[in-house]
Every structure is written in structure tokens, then in C-alpha cells.
């Protein structure tokens, strides 16, 4: 069992938890992920590592409540524990040698973008963070990002915080104003990553995306997380989760991501009834 040392809501649907997992904390690198199970009957879900503290032996996860498992996870309290917590899995994000990077985060994807921005900043790179949310109440990690960025652009769909528009609007403007990035690192919903890569392709800026497909074991065993990259089948769990955004088949990834939508909706509704007494 893995204890929840700290829990705090970041917004109404996003929660941050610090989990006691010294072995994982000792090895974790930005870009890697864990797989967890909430309880004995629970499914295994992958979550990218949001932060880690090697001395305290803790790993931070940030998750959005989207389904039954994250609903159950959010129902656990500080001091409680998770059934299983495995990692670090996957390959770390390659950021060695980068001098100027645009880190683009969308929604809860910012949770994963943040440790990457932090490490880039720490190695002396110029970091421009462009983050997007639907509205003000969903904004997360604002101060954290600001503290590790030379430039921070906040975008919201409705203009209730920062500037109204999409992350691609801000990125295009920055590129057109003469900013020259060695690399763009985009993490967020598939559709956001797809549009970011379409934009960066125009300007020929190498772009890394972080894929978060359906997984079971996370060790290369099931192949459920496979995706097409440059015409070849890759497993996100062992070959990724980071890939060259220019080569990823996003359409296929979006279709595969919707495989269990019906099941998930039903399971989530049941979990809601259980935990929230009816409202779903």
C-alpha cells in the first residue's frame, strides 16, 4: 500500500496528491509515468509524474476527475493509501542541450508540462510556457509555471483569465514575432497536440508530444497503448510516452482513445452515485 501524504484540490475537477513511494521518487525523471490502482478491484491507470521529491521519498500526481477510477481516487483522503503504485515507467523527456524551448500545456496536461519546464529552467534554458484552459476556474499551477519560465502566456477559451484564444494563437504570434525555439514540447489533449504540431511543421520547429493512451501493464506486455509513429507501430509505455509530434498519427490515437467510452461513462455514473449520492 502506498500512502497519500498530501492532497489538495487545484480546481473543482483537478486534484494534486503526494504519494509516499521512495523507490520511484529516487529514480523518477520528468516525462515518466506511474500506473496505479485505487483498490483490489480497480483498473490500472497511467498518470504522468507531475513532480517528485527524492529526499522526502514522494511522487506527485495531478489528475482530472474524468472517470470512475479518478472519481474513486479523488474520494481518498490524506493519510489513506493506494492499492498499487508502480514506476517510474517509460522514457524521460529528452531535454539535454536545449537552449530555448516553448513548453505548451493544455488543461491537466500542464501537470506534466510543469516538471519539464522546471528541469529546462534548471539547466539554464530559456523557457516560454504557453498554457491553455477552458476558463479561469480551471487554471492550475500558475505560480509554479511563472517561477520556472522566462515568459508565461495564459490562454482561456472564454477569456475569463489571461488572453482569450488557443495556445496555438499565442505560439504562432511568438514565432512570428521572431522567437526562435530549438524545440516545442506540447502536452495536453490529443486535439491540442495535433494542432500544435500542424503549426510547428509550418515553421519546421522540432516538436515533442507526450502521449497518454489506454494502458494496462505499462511494461510493453499488452500492446494496448500502441500508436502509429512514422508509419510504424510503437508502444507508448516503453517506446514513449514522448514521440516526435510530426510523425504521430493523431486521428488513429483519438479513435483508439475512445474505445471504452460507453463503459467509462457508465462506470463513472455509478461511481458518482456511490460517492456523491446521486448527482453525476
Amino acid at each position: 500500500m502506498y500512502q497519500i501524504v498530501k492532497k489538495e484540490p487545484l480546481n473543482p475537477t483537478v486534484t494534486r496528491m503526494e504519494i509516499a513511494a521512495p523507490l520511484i521518487a529516487a529514480k523518477a525523471q520528468p516525462g515518466q509515468f506511474v500506473i496505479l490502482r485505487v483498490d483490489e478491484e480497480g483498473e490500472r491507470i497511467p498518470l504522468t509524474i507531475a513532480d517528485f521529491d527524492r529526499e522526502q521519498g514522494t511522487v506527485t500526481i495531478i489528475f482530472q476527475i474524468v472517470g470512475a477510477t479518478t472519481e474513486k481516487l479523488n474520494h481518498l483522503s490524506e493519510g489513506g493509501s493506494l492499492q498499487d503504485f508502480v514506476g517510474p515507467l517509460g522514457k524521460p523527456t529528452h531535454i539535454e542541450g536545449l537552449k530555448k524551448v516553448a513548453v505548451v500545456g493544455g488543461g491537466v496536461g500542464c501537470a506534466i508540462a510543469y516538471p519539464i519546464a522546471k528541469k529546462l529552467y534548471g539547466q539554464g534554458a530559456e523557457v516560454h510556457s504557453i498554457v491553455g484552459f477552458r476558463s479561469e476556474d480551471l487554471v492550475i499551477l500558475k505560480e509554479e509555471f511563472k517561477s520556472v519560465s522566462h515568459m508565461y502566456a495564459l490562454m482561456t477559451d472564454d477569456g475569463s483569465a489571461g488572453e482569450k484564444g488557443l495556445v496555438t494563437d499565442a505560439l504562432r504570434r511568438l514565432i512570428q514575432s521572431g522567437e526562435r525555439y530549438d524545440q516545442v514540447i506540447a502536452i495536453g489533449p490529443l486535439v491540442m497536440m495535433k494542432f500544435v504540431t500542424e503549426l510547428t511543421k509550418e515553421f519546421d520547429i522540432p516538436t515533442t508530444v507526450s502521449m497518454n493512451p489506454i494502458m494496462i501493464d505499462g511494461t510493453g506486455m499488452c500492446g494496448g497503448c500502441r500508436l502509429t509513429v512514422g508509419g510504424q507501430t510503437k508502444f507508448a509505455c516503453v517506446d514513449g510516452p514522448d514521440f516526435d509530434g510530426f510523425l504521430v498519427d493523431f486521428e488513429e490515437a483519438m479513435a483508439r482513445g475512445a474505445m471504452y467510452k460507453g463503459f467509462e461513462r457508465q462506470a463513472h455514473e455509478e461511481a458518482c452515485r456511490l460517492f456523491r449520492g446521486g448527482e453525476a
Binding site: V38, E43, D84, V86, G87, I216, D217, M221, A255
Partner: protein, 464 residues
């Protein structure tokens, strides 16, 4: 007087109609009377060919003799000298290619049902003898075992019996490896696997789950933590695909994924958090035990039609004869001499069919089996909403890529010295599918046994 019946005693089993709708065990096991009768068919011939056909050399005539005399616990003790997992092997060994293949009674008539007798004896012991295994005196020396499948469990058990303090590292949340995630409940009840694992724990073996070696700790770190030797039994976990168009459509699974969802995650049970597609028409591609398992699971999940698509003929099927028989009884449709050419997709990125081409058998290939060749222009479509690829697996590269100096074959198998299981790294041993590629439970157990003996010899030579 031996029983000279040419036929072996039939195995009682659930009716096909009923069992193809549930996940309970298909074969029900011999009664005492059947076991006594079958055991009397053994002629106790002098040269004991059956023993040489067993990868762990179970003293077969001796255990059958005790069985015939009604000394079932005595029979169990004979098997236990050589095999760590009798209740498992009695169920999943391909006996017809091993011990039973060489049985003298098989020359004229059917061989003695050695596997069924082994299963009977092991089950009898599990039901009647509650003594926990005795914890051997510790010699204070630590050995790490990576992977808790048949190779790892056997190696751990043998070392523990010699007094070593063994820690088994398992990547998943439950120990048992392929016995738990791969082989379905109806063929190998998980309670049996758990019992074997509990036995090891009682002997002092520590099992650490959620430990992906190669990621959270490397082999070198294990050696640095005071483990004097490491045995790698990490299996062949990486699924193969055909690389045909449409293979990444929704509804196309590797057998590993499909079986893991069903067996390890219990997706067939209401209340499991893990989803599975309840498909109407399913095509399983491949002809091994894994293909049979996947097909029979799909049927049990409610599929109306389940096809096995296999590119060779029935004669070349690598699956155990009993599994093929059971699959047929349950209504699985075999499409022999057919090979998929692409998976067809619908508007939503979901599989709606599989296009196959007819094959003919040509000259024998390197495996000695006749090579299938395509019949031009014979393509046809099977309407299915689920395709399961059961084409075999290769070893997982996680350990290889994080262990300096560990030699592997081009296809990923770890290179070992056959007599000892020693790898190219000092004090690092390996066995099972991680070395051979996908093979059988009993071969993996044989390799675990060999390595345990070699580790003991080596460590005592290093420091008596």
C-alpha cells in the same frame, strides 16, 4: 495385474454447452476410483521412457505405483521431489508431446494418462494435507529472482529449500506471471496458483509486487544491494503483430491484452473496474494454446461466432490436443489454411471485418513444418467486430537495455550457458521464455531448476 484397457480413463468435465458460458474450470479431475483404475494401466517398464520425456524428470512410474496402491500423499511426495508446481503442470503441460508421447502403452492404444494422474495426486494433496511447508534453516545468503512466473517460482522454491533467502520481484500487482495474466481461470484456477505462491511464502520467500526491474531497480543495483546472485525469469511479454493494414483499429487486441483484461483484471466479472469489449463475432489469429485461450474467453464473454484463423492445417496446430478438442466442443470455428491480409475498418475507426487469403502447404521450412503459401486471388472477408492477434511474443527489452554486458540474441532472448543458465554476466542467471522465447510452463520450470542448482554450486564455491 495391470489394467490392459487400450483406452485411458476419460476425464470428467463440464458439458460444453454450459461451460462455454462460464469461467469455471472445464476439466473436473479424476475420482479416486478413476485414478486407481488408470494408475493400474502403468506397466512399470524398466527403461522408463516417460521420465526422459519430462523436462523436470518427475519419477513417473514411482508416483503412479503409489497412486495405484492408494497412497496418494506418498505419490505427491514423489512428484514434489522434482516439480515445484504439480497441480499446475497436471493441468497445463503438453503431455502428449512429452511423457505420454513416450509411454509404451501408447504403441498400441492410448498412453497412460500421466498428466491427469499428476493433477489428481496434486489436488488430493491440496484438499487433504494442510501442513504448511517447513521453513528451511537460513544460510543467510540472499538471491534475487526477477519475475514470478513458472521459471522464477521454481528457481525461488528450489533455492529456498536449500536455505537461501530469496526475494522475488514481480512487475505486476499479483504474483504468478503468465499463470495469472495469461492462462484463463477455466483452464487453471487462480486459487491453485495462489496456493503454490503461499507455499513459497511459508518457506520464507519474499515476494515484492509492483517492481519493474530495469525501471525502478536495475540488475546491477540488485547485486549492489547484497543479492549474491540474480535469476532473470522475466518471460516473453512483448506481443507480436502481423504489421498488416488496420491492425491498430479499435477492437483489435493482442492476445496478451485481451487475456490480461480477462484473467488478471477479471474484466468478465461485474464490479471489475477494467473494461473489455463484448464482441459478437471474433477472429483469433494463431494456432497455439494462447489462441485457444483467447477464443474460448471470447466465447465465454458472449460472442456468437468465434473463429480461429490459422495459416497452416490442423496437423500443424501447436496447441495442446486437449485444448483444441475443448475449443471445438465449445463451438469455436477453425479456419485452417487461411491468413489475414488486412483488418477492415468502419466509420468510427472500429474493426468491422478481416480479409483473409487461402493458403496451401508447400515445402517444409526451418521448423520442419510445411510452409504455407498464398493462393493468388483467393481473398475473402470474415465479418467480425473483434480481432485478437495470438502470434507469439518476444522477450521484454527492459532488462537487456539497462544491464551492461548482458548478451542477447538478435531477437531479444538472453544468451545463457545451457547446463547452468549462466548469462554473460557474472552471478546473473536466466531461464524460461526470457531465454527461449515463448515456450511451455514446464520448460520454464526446468530452466528455473537448473539455474537454482547452478547458483547454489557457484555461491558455495565463492564462499563455502
Amino acid at each position: 495385474m495391470p489394467n490392459m484397457s487400450l483406452k485411458k480413463n476419460e476425464m470428467p468435465s463440464q458439458e460444453p454447452q454450459a461451460r462455454s458460458r462460464n469461467f469455471q474450470e472445464v476439466a473436473l479431475g479424476y475420482t479416486e476410483a478413476q485414478a486407481l483404475d488408470e494408475a493400474k494401466r502403468c506397466l512399470h517398464c524398466k527403461n522408463r521412457p516417460c521420465v526422459s520425456g519430462c523436462p523436470v524428470q518427475v519419477h513417473i512410474p514411482e508416483f503412479i505405483e503409489k497412486t495405484a496402491a492408494g497412497d496418494f500423499e506418498g505419490a505427491y511426495q514423489v512428484i514434489a521431489q522434482s516439480s515445484a508446481l504439480p497441480a499446475v503442470c497436471g493441468r497445463v503441460c503438453p503431455q502428449e508431446n512429452q511423457c505420454e508421447k513416450l509411454c509404451v502403452r501408447g504403441v498400441k492404444g492410448e498412453p497412460v494418462a500421466i498428466g491427469r494422474l499428476e493433477r489428481f495426486v496434486a489436488d488430493w494433496h491440496n484438499q487433504h494435507v494442510q501442513d504448511a511447508p517447513v521453513k528451511p534453516a537460513s544460510n543467510g545468503r540472499r538471491v534475487a529472482v526477477v519475475g514470478s512466473g513458472p521459471a522464477g517460482l521454481t528457481c525461488a522454491g528450489d533455492l529456498a529449500r536449500m536455505g537461501y533467502q530469496v526475494t522475488v520481484f514481480e512487475a505486476l500487482h499479483t504474483a504468478g506471471g503468465v499463470l495469472v495474466y495469461g492462462i484463463p481461470e477455466f483452464r487453471l484456477p487462480k486459487a491453485i496458483v495462489q496456493k503454490e505462491i503461499d507455499g513459497l511464502k511459508a518457506m520464507g520467500v519474499k515476494i515484492e509486487t509492483n517492481m519493474v526491474i530495469g525501471q525502478v531497480l536495475s540488475i546491477d543495483e540488485l547485486l549492489g544491494q547484497g543479492f549474491e546472485a540474480v535469476f532473470i525469469g522475466s518471460g516473453a511479454g512483448l506481443p507480436r503483430f502481423m504489421n498488416i493494414p488496420g491492425e491498430n483499429l479499435k477492437g483489435v487486441y493482442s492476445a496478451n491484452e485481451f487475456l490480461t483484461r480477462v484473467n488478471l483484471m477479471k474484466a468478465y466479472k461485474p464490479g471489475s473496474g477494467t473494461p473489455i469489449q463484448h464482441a459478437k463475432k471474433v477472429a483469433v489469429v494463431g494456432g497455439g494454446n494462447v489462441a485457444m485461450d483467447a477464443a474460448r474467453c471470447a466465447k465465454r464473454l458472449g460472442a456468437e461466432e468465434v473463429y480461429i484463423v490459422y495459416r497452416r492445417s490442423e496437423k500443424e496446430l501447436p496447441a495442446r490436443a486437449e485444448e483444441v478438442e475443448h475449443a471445438k466442443e465449445e463451438g469455436i470455428v477453425f479456419k485452417f489454411l487461411n491468413n489475414p491480409t488486412r483488418v477492415l475498418g468502419g466509420d468510427d475507426g472500429e474493426a468491422v471485418g478481416i480479409e483473409c487469403i487461402e493458403m496451401a502447404l508447400g515445402e517444409p521450412d526451418a521448423s520442419g513444418r510445411r510452409r504455407p503459401v498464398e493462393k493468388a486471388g483467393s481473398e475473402f472477408t470474415l465479418d467480425v467486430d473483434c480481432v485478437i492477434m495470438a502470434l507469439g511474443t518476444s522477450p521484454n527489452p527492459l532488462i537487456k537495455s539497462t544491464t551492461k554486458g548482458l548478451e542477447t540474441q538478435k531477437w531479444g532472448g538472453i544468451v545463457v550457458e545451457e547446463e547452468t543458465g549462466l548469462t554473460s554476466r557474472e552471478n546473473v542467471y536466466a531461464g524460461g521464455d526470457a531465454v527461449t522465447g515463448a515456450a511451455t510452463v514446464i520448460l520454464a520450470m526446468g530452466a528455473g531448476k537448473t539455474a537454482a542448482k547452478a547458483i547454489d554450486t557457484r555461491l558455495r564455491a565463492l564462499r563455502p
